[in-house]
């Protein structure tokens, strides 16, 4: 089995935030306290590394609620194992980015 990927603290925080349900770019920012100039490029890097994958929500859902469609992020299988690995490496992550209350539709 391949060795789990070691991530920087910032990437681990973002990955953890997604794992606990903060699935949009802005909510990741709120949960981690990181600025947009850090979060969005990091999300693209994590996606390139295939730890997360992004998807646009259905336009019909957004139209029904009279708001623009939003891009959301999900962990891949490799991302899930990276989160587990990094929870052991950064045990305080849990406190930094608490679990989202209602995020996913």
């Amino acid at each position: 089995m391949a060795e789990p990927q070691k991530l920087t603290h910032t990437s681990a925080m973002i990955l953890h935030a997604i794992a606990v349900g903060h699935i949009y770019g802005y909510t990741v920012m709120e949960a981690t306290g990181l600025p947009s100039g850090t979060v969005y490029p990091a999300l693209r890097r994590l996606e390139r590394d295939q730890l997360i994958r992004s998807q646009w929500e259905k336009q019909s859902i957004a139209d029904a609620e009279q708001r623009p469609a939003r891009k959301y992020y999900k962990l891949t299988r490799a991302g899930e194992s990276a989160v587990e690995e990094n929870r052991r490496r950064y045990p305080l992550l849990e406190k930094l980015a608490p679990r989202a209350e209602v995020e996913q539709s």
């Binding site: 949009y24 770019g25 802005y26 920012m29 600025p35 947009s36 100039g37 850090t38 979060v39 969005y40 490029p41 693209r44 890097r45 390139r48 708001r67 623009p68 469609a69 939003r70 891009k71």
Partner: protein
Amino acid sequence: MTARWWPHTILRAAALLAPPAERARWLDEWRSELWYLPREGATRFCLGAFRDAIEVRRHSEALTPPLASPTNCLAFLALLATVSLCLVAALAGQLAAHATLWRMPTRALPGECLVTLLFSCGLLPIIRLATPHPHSQHPPRSWPSKLRASTFLALKILLVQPVLLCGFVILLIAGPAAPVAAQLALLALWVGTLRWVIDDQHRRCPDCQRLLGGAVRIGVASRTFLEWYGGESSCSEGHGLLQTPDLSASYCRSGQWLRLGNSWHELFPAASKGRHS
């Protein structure tokens, strides 16, 4: 309080940094996120878009350098040459007042360019000898591709002459104020420009004259034992790879051009697009 239009203007400005092919999608993403934001933090949020746009641009596969194609390169040099000639013509009057030895009527411009060309032709072999050239080892090429390469090089040399002449005129005007600095600057301009012409030629595919891209590192000095290590760039049309060693060794003194057969073209989107269209 932030005006409603201000964050959108910031996003539009940042979008200019994103590659054109991905710009609309990128802007949609940021605009949709902006909609969910409280208005107070919107400006700060949008400033982060610049960094994100740069990140997207850095990793965009669709993006090619503006001077990658030989036609674009020659068009750019022709534009630069025209601007330089206009500048020289405008400065000709001033030059008569400053320099007593050098008179330059506007109608003599082609002749002056010929003088700079002769000087450049004298300087080129010396610069070429002093410049390491990675294309020294490559398989024999067909005569059309040799002719294409020579024509491209000759046109580049020809088109930089007005630029050199313009630099010469500017430095002639500035000369009396700082004679030594002006002479050094003139020499640096001449050598720098001609060196760029040669270096640019070496960074191009010998078959199609497009700039090589997709540079990757191969091998690490500390982990290689008698093995090749250095950089490798490829032609976007799939003609071949340029392998440049970090250190010259007896088995690999300089760079070598590795020609790729047609079976490799599937890996190069530009090559397969050209073949199917």
